[in-house]
């Protein structure tokens, strides 16, 4: 059984992920080579030089950490061939 709260969390995460993907070029200019967490639909953006530090920052913040979309924002644009 999937809890309603979990589905709400997934929806919030999906919105944050969409914002992150759509704003990647802007983030690349502002926060190059940083780990970035996008929360609350892009209203709050946290960053750190490593994943461990970002997770620590998220834990200490007031945001709902599990719903935040996290990515490494590389200065260079890489084409993914998978």
């Amino acid at each position: 059984m999937i809890e309603r709260a979990d589905l709400d969390k997934l929806n919030e995460y999906t919105v944050n992920t969409q914002w992150l993907l759509e704003n990647m070029d802007k983030l690349r200019e502002k926060l190059p080579d940083r780990y970035v967490a996008v929360c609350e639909g892009g209203k709050r953006v946290l960053d750190a030089p490593s994943m461990d530090e970002l997770l620590e920052k998220l834990t200490k913040s007031t945001v709902h950490a599990e719903s935040c979309a996290i990515d490494f924002v590389s200065r260079e644009v890489y084409a993914l061939i998978v």
């Binding site: 979990d6 993907l21 979309a69 993914l80």
Partner: protein
Amino acid sequence: MKGQHIFVTALFYCDHLGISGIPVKFLVDTGNIHTTLTEATAKRLGIDTAKLFSGKPQLRISGVGGSAEGYTLANIRLVFSDSDGTPVEEKLQVVFVMKLPKPRDENERKAMEVIPDLIGLDVIRRYSFRFEKNLMYLEK
């Protein structure tokens, strides 16, 4: 999900590790047999990667950029949300966590950091595809 690549989000469950519905973004990768997590995501899920990687790798992973080792997480459930918000659950016997080789330099490290989590054919082949204006729809 709209973007350059095709991504999908899902809740990740692994009951015996106490992971209960943490959202993950996956790149839909028809060239990949197994659903695979990066080390960074494994950490975000609360997995002790040092402990996981201390065992023997169960898979050698090969890609354009080189090779990696794969370590298994067993009995995984992924829950997607369909277009009307109904949960769709997929059970997987195993999901792999990638342990990438040590980068040769800082540039290689950064290139490795952008490698995404991958939804593989173990999930994708349960669906049929439909592409429409830059969006992909998975249909049962």
